[in-house]
Structure formats: C-alpha cells, structure tokens
C-alpha cells in the first residue's frame, strides 16, 4: 500500500526539508494561502469526513467551523502529549515525517485565522525537541513561516513546548492550562476551546495524527480522501499494536480493517501458539473486549467497535492472551490511573486511590469474593460523576474486566457461599 501518514516508510529522509519539498511538500499550504479563502479550507476538511484521531473521533471540519470569529486572536494547538498506555503513533510522525505534521498545523492556522500555533509535546519527547526546533528555523529561512507569506497578508509562527510528565495534559483543556503555565487540570466545558481556549482566546486543539492528514486532503481533495476507509469513518488510521503479539508496532491501515487482520496478518499472531483472550482497543482506557470470533471480525472504525462493547479511541490495540488474568491486568491499569489522577475532582482522586487498595488486597490472595464486589461497587459509584473523561476511563477495565471475565476473579478469591451471588448491575 501507499502510505498517507507514514510516508517516511515509502520515502526515506522525508524528514529533510529538501526531500519533503521534492515530494510535493508545502504545495498544499501554498495553494490554500494564495488561492483559497479560509472558509473554503474548512469546508474541504469538513467534506473529507476526517475525524479526530486523538480518541474522541469528533469531525475535524466541524470543530474548525466552531471557531469564534468575534473574539481575536485565534490559536492552533497540536496535542502531542501522547500518554495513553498502548499509544505510540504520534512519536513516529514527529520523528520521521515532521514536515507533514507542521504543514497540517499551518493549513489549520490559515483556515481558522490563527497567526501562532503551539505544538505541546509530552516532556519525555525531549530528544525530539531540538530537531523539531531546528526544522521550524529551516521553514522560516525558506520563507514558509514568518510574515506576509507568499506575498499575502497572512503571517504565522510555530512554537514547540514540552510538558513534564502528566497524562492528564492529553485532555485538551488541561493541556491548555499547562501551556499557560499552570497545573494541568481540566476546565469545565462548555465553553469549548473553539470559543474559549489558549489565553481565553478561540483555539483549535487537534491531535498530531489528525493534523498530519490535512495536507493530503488539501493536495488530493476530499473525494480522494473518502475512497480510503469506510463511509462514516473515512481515511487511514495508525493502529498502535502492543501486548501479546509477535510483531508489535505501528500499522497504518484503512479505518474498517478488522481486528483479525491487524493482529494475525500484520501482527503475526500470538506468541507461543497461545490463544487470544481479550483486546483493549483504546489503550488502558478501554472497555475490555472478549476476543471471540465476532470481535475479531469486527471492523476497527468509530461505528463498529461500540457494537462489541468498546470504543476505537486512539486505536491503541493491546492484545492479551490466555496466560493473563484480568485481576492482574486491572491492577496495572488502576495503578496507572491512580498515579495520573490530577486531583481536581473527588470521585477520580479518591476513587482511584481506594480502588488500588482493594485490587492490591485481591492480588495478595486469600481475600473473600466480597472484595471484588466492593471494587465493582466503588467503580460504579465513580461512573458518571467525574469532572473529565479520564476519571471515567479509570473504571472501564474494572467494570468490564469483572463483568466479562468473572471466572478470573472467582479463581483469585475464596469460594465462600457469598461468592456465588451475581454482581449487581
């Protein structure tokens, strides 16, 4: 196949400006700035059906339409805080195909009338920052960033910013707080960033992969883009495949590819001839899918994954084989969420704390099944009460791990009479 996002896999050294330019780089940016109105760019992206690749799957063009034109200046912010366990797709774009991502940011800035754009990266991407800064300097020197671009009155600047280790900063309003030099804690929404964003000004926050789609859409047109993927989920998607598979890694495939194709054809199947047990399609935040034939034949797109009781999210597919027990898996996800809870709201801060205590007791062994019911009860009481989505994520593995894999929990606890009672829904 021909890569749309990971073009470095077809074209070596596309991370060098001369190579990127030789392969049509920044032609789309020049075209939009010199021949299109901003609204026309927004409409072309809307028409393409591109949906946000960070996890929520919100239509990108619709988000751009929402920018408040009665409040200026506007900003564009790229979310490069990639921190979901199982997600490692954006780093490859930043490292190997950075100009396509920058071009996407620049087209977005033109489309929404922003003259400044910030790329907020997780602090752990430190090694990439000097190179990415140098590439901005190259763009300025080449006349692709700066004042009065291509002789028009459009001017723009790009900046990189490093975070410092906080999962919550992947939540867009927490990211904006962090970029303003504050604690990375989410804001109440609405108002959403297109009306109240960075420095209180209208802001578009898009994921790195989302933005990397944009130059190709403007270069080849929305109609071409829609030939990839499915009707409601058009385009290519990068699937980060990890866990119990022979060939973990990033796979760029059309949306709608089945789990079976990803895991068995591309990922080389399960090591040691073991059987697949479960799939977490959206990283540690996933509702866990029982990996039966129906699930394996499910297309990975925004509409189909909910049919097997989960979400596509950022498409961070963690494969779990039969050697893994769900109580251990839940212990891993809970300790992650407890550590990363920002502390702003009580259900998440206290709930994740108490859930780690209960799961550690269960894991230590010899506990009564009542502890499993208590864990489930705490999770159900967190549900729907958190300030942001990340608190809700923390209970997904707990609830579905217990509901869908009950035997694992019975095996881990004492089989008293009370343990036979069903879990209350």
């Amino acid at each position: 196949m021909t890569y749309v996002l990971y073009r470095h896999r077809d074209i070596p050294e596309i991370d060098q400006l001369d190579v990127y330019l030789k392969h049509g780089g920044f032609e789309a940016f020049k075209k939009v700035v010199t021949t299109m109105k901003p609204e026309e760019v927004v409409e072309e992206v809307f028409k393409s059906g591109l949906r946000g690749r960070g996890g929520a799957g919100f239509p990108t063009g619709l988000k751009w339409r929402f920018i408040d034109k009665n409040n200026w200046p506007h900003y564009v912010v790229a979310n490069a805080d990639e921190s979901e366990p199982g997600t490692f797709k954006d780093r490859e774009i930043l490292e190997r195909n950075p100009f396509q991502f920058y071009e996407g940011m620049m087209i977005c800035a033109y489309a929404v009338g922003a003259n400044a754009a910030y790329n907020y990266m997780r602090g752990e991407f430190w090694q990439l920052a000097p190179t990415l800064d140098a590439k901005i300097a190259e763009l300025e020197k080449a006349g692709l960033l700066g004042d009065n671009l291509f002789g028009t009155n459009f001017s723009m600047r790009l900046y990189n910013q490093l975070g410092a280790g906080a999962y919550i900063c992947g939540e867009e309003t927490a990211l904006l707080e962090s970029l303003e030099g504050k604690l990375g804690q989410p804001r109440l929404r609405p108002p959403f960033p297109p009306s109240f964003g960075l420095f209180g000004k209208p802001t578009i926050v898009n994921n790195v992969e989302t933005l990397a789609n944009v130059p190709m859409i403007l270069a080849k047109g929305a109609d071409w883009y829609k030939t990839i993927g499915t009707e409601k989920s058009p385009g290519p998607k990068i699937f980060s495949l990890s866990g119990n598979v022979n060939k973990p890694g990033n796979y760029e495939l059309p949306l709608g590819t089945t789990f079976r194709e990803l895991i068995y054809e591309h990922g080389g199947g399960i090591p040691g001839g073991r059987k697949i047990k479960a799939i977490l399609p959206a990283g540690a935040s996933s509702a866990i899918i029982v990996a039966d034939d129906k699930a394996l034949d499910t297309p990975m797109d925004y509409e189909s994954v909910p049919n097997v009781g989960s979400m596509l999210g950022s498409a961070s597919v963690i494969v779990v084989d039969e050697s893994v027990s769900m109580d251990w898996l839940v212990k891993k996800t809970l300790h992650f969420f407890k550590h990363e809870s920002c502390g702003k709201c009580t259900p998440c801060r206290e709930g994740t704390y108490w859930m780690t205590h209960i799961i550690d007791r269960i894991e230590a062994g010899g506990e009564d099944y009542e502890q499993v019911k208590l864990l489930y009860d705490v999770a159900r009481n967190i549900e729907g009460k958190c300030f942001c989505a990340l608190g809700e994520f923390s209970i997904q593995a707990v609830v579905t791990g217990i509901d869908r894999f009950p035997d694992d929990w019975k095996a881990k606890t004492k089989h008293g009479q009370r343990s036979q009672e069903a879990i209350p829904a």
């Binding site: 997780r122 900046y159 490093l162 495949l241």
Partner: protein
C-alpha cells in the same frame, strides 16, 4: 540578583519570546528545565528566580514542580533510570526486567532505589509511549531525557556501569 537570568540570559529570552508579551507565565515549564539542568533538582532559591522572571509567586512555581513528575525539589541521583512497567510493557516482560535490574544493583525489586554511590536511581514509571519496544526505560539527567528501548538486564547494566564511572 537573579542567577538564572544572569547565567542563561539568551536562553531565557528565547523562551520568553515564544509567548505573547503579557503571557510570560507560560514560560514556567521550560524555565524549570533550565533551572534543573545542573543539579538535577530545583531548589527553593531557583523557584524564586523563575517566579521573579515570569512575575508570579514562588509558591505558584513550587506547585508546578510538585504537580509534574519530571521535576524534582530535592537533591538526588544525577541519573535516573525510569523503567516503564505499565500494562503493554508488562505484557512484554517489563516487570521481570525491572526486578532483574534491581536484583543486580541490590535494590528493592519493585520500587527500585539509588545505588550505593548515590549516582543512579532506578524507578518504575508510567507509560512512556514506546510500548512496542519493551522492555524500555528513559534515562533522565539534568541534560535531558534519552530513550533506551528493547533492553535486557545486561544492556541496562552496561549503561549503569558507564554512568557510575562518569564524574
């Protein structure tokens, strides 16, 4: 006198220029990395200097240091080996790697610790976005962060020995 400003004036100005004139507070995180560079921790005096540059109270800077996990407010080892032991890495042997490395360094197998000479800390951390290349860790020092992927206890021990021999 502001030591940070005096010593790194050009760098500080470059950082401040990234933000609108009246939004200098945004510079707090990049400035804290500069402040942490030499000693691998940020002292209260450093925090006060950062606060002075961006025009906020030292307490507000301290809250940033406390919130974000890559800043330290106490002296510690010069090098930190931060092993990701989250779910995807653990499915690929990260826990065993962590235990093996800590065993060789006579540290607590689950929580790690600092080597006898005080030079290297080994600790388990949360997801580092390199799940397909586990076991992996990042090496954090004042100079920055470097990823080490597809590791074995042997390759990690070799690095630890090199670090312990540096001045």
């Amino acid at each position: 006198m502001n030591n940070l400003l005096e010593k790194y004036n050009d760098e500080v100005q470059t950082i401040l220029n990234k933000y609108p004139e009246d939004r200098k507070r945004s510079a707090v995180m990049p400035l804290l990395y500069v402040a942490q560079r030499e000693k691998m921790y940020v002292s209260q005096a450093d925090m006060a200097e950062v606060a002075e540059i961006i025009g906020v109270s030292p307490t507000e800077v301290a809250s940033i240091v406390g919130f974000y996990s890559l800043y330290y407010d106490k002296p510690g080892a010069k090098f930190r080996i931060q092993v990701c032991t989250d779910l995807p890495c653990a499915l690929r042997g990260a826990d065993e790697f962590m235990e093996g490395l800590c065993h060789r360094l006579k540290l607590d197998p689950h929580h790690g610790g600092t080597t006898e000479d005080g030079k290297v800390t080994v600790e388990a951390v949360m997801c580092l976005a390199a799940c397909d290349k586990a076991p992996m860790f990042q090496l954090q020092s004042g100079e920055g962060i470097v990823y080490h992927e597809n590791q074995t206890v042997e390759t990690a021990m070799k690095l630890v020995e090199e670090l312990r021999n540096t001045q």
